[in-house]
């Protein structure tokens, strides 16, 4: 199973995403923002970071990277894509996912271990979790507040497209405590917290994040 991890200028958690893929038993393939294609990897991860310095709007400039043309086209045909943090922002800017991620309500960058509830395990990236399962993984961003209009919110809720919610106090002002969402088809997932930083006990809050990576590997052998 070859999972591509795209590195944009300013990507930071790309190596960590690759490590997570390997920990889960997959093969991590480094993709470059300037590449014209994703050279037939089976899935793509858009990693966290500050691509293009988060200037203008997070993900607004990366969205137009050459490689994104191929990512967007194939994602629409069902290619599994996981956007983590900055990757989630890029997916929203690319309109592969609805809504947008805006400044945290207290205007600070937040780095903390965040409890989440998995509310949809039908996506290609969450099948290894139970619905209602609580996991704790790092949240670290300055613009993680999920915002959208009421219609979009109702659609996401009614179609069960919310993947994970924050548990406890709303850390950043996201509507309906949304931490992650998916598209109709369930192949594209955007998640604000960082599962790739919760894959070993030593350097993160446990291993709760590994499920996102094992899920996709299982989904692809099926």
């Amino acid at each position: 199973m070859r999972i591509g991890v795209v590195t944009f200028p300013g990507s930071l958690d790309d190596r960590d995403a690759q490590r997570a893929v390997r920990e889960a038993g997959g093969e991590a393939v480094a993709l470059w923002h300037g590449d014209s294609s994703i050279n037939n990897v089976d899935a793509v991860i858009l990693p966290g970071g500050f691509s293009y310095g988060d200037y203008l709007r997070c993900g607004a400039i990366s969205r137009f990277a050459p490689v994104m043309t191929d990512v967007i086209a194939k994602a629409k045909e069902g290619l599994p894509v996981l956007g983590i943090c900055n990757g989630f922002q890029i997916l929203c800017e690319s309109h592969l996912l609805p809504g947008a991620l805006t400044r945290n309500k207290d205007l600070h960058f937040i780095c903390k271990d965040q409890e989440l509830e998995i509310v949809n395990n039908k996506t290609l990236w969450t099948s290894d979790y139970q619905v209602g399962q609580h996991i704790t993984i790092p949240l670290k961003n300055g613009e993680g507040s999920f915002q959208c209009d009421d219609n979009t919110l109702n659609m996401l809720e009614s179609e069960g497209r919310i993947v994970a919610r924050y548990v406890g106090e709303n850390p950043n002002g996201s509507r309906n405590l949304i931490a992650g969402i998916t598209n109709e088809r369930g192949n594209i997932v955007g998640l604000m917290p960082h599962p790739e930083h919760a894959i070993e006990d030593l350097c993160g809050p446990g291993t709760d994040g590994l499920g996102f990576f094992t899920s996709i590997l299982k989904a692809m052998v099926k």
Partner: protein, 78 residues
């Protein structure tokens, strides 16, 4: 050489924590004139020659603003 101004503001229904922060800071400093504050972006673009307004509108729409949460206005400054 002309200067183009693009102003981008969050849509009214979208939460604006920065504007709110300013609104609540003002009274603390003894300024009580503000009923509400919204914070947005302002771009000053220097252009040479006569660029097509259509181009600039397009750039404002696809790059400088995010239609999901923001509105924009474009004007040429004399």
């Amino acid at each position: 050489m002309a200067k183009i101004i693009v102003e981008v503001m969050l849509k009214p229904e979208i939460l604006d924590p920065q504007g709110q922060a300013v609104a609540s800071a003002l009274p603390r400093l003894g300024f009580n004139f503000a009923k509400s504050v919204r914070q947005g972006k302002r771009f000053e673009i220097e252009v040479d020659g006569e660029p097509s307004m259509a181009d600039i509108e397009k750039a404002a729409e696809v790059l400088l603003s995010n239609p999901v949460i923001e509105n924009y206005t474009v004007r040429v400054e004399k």
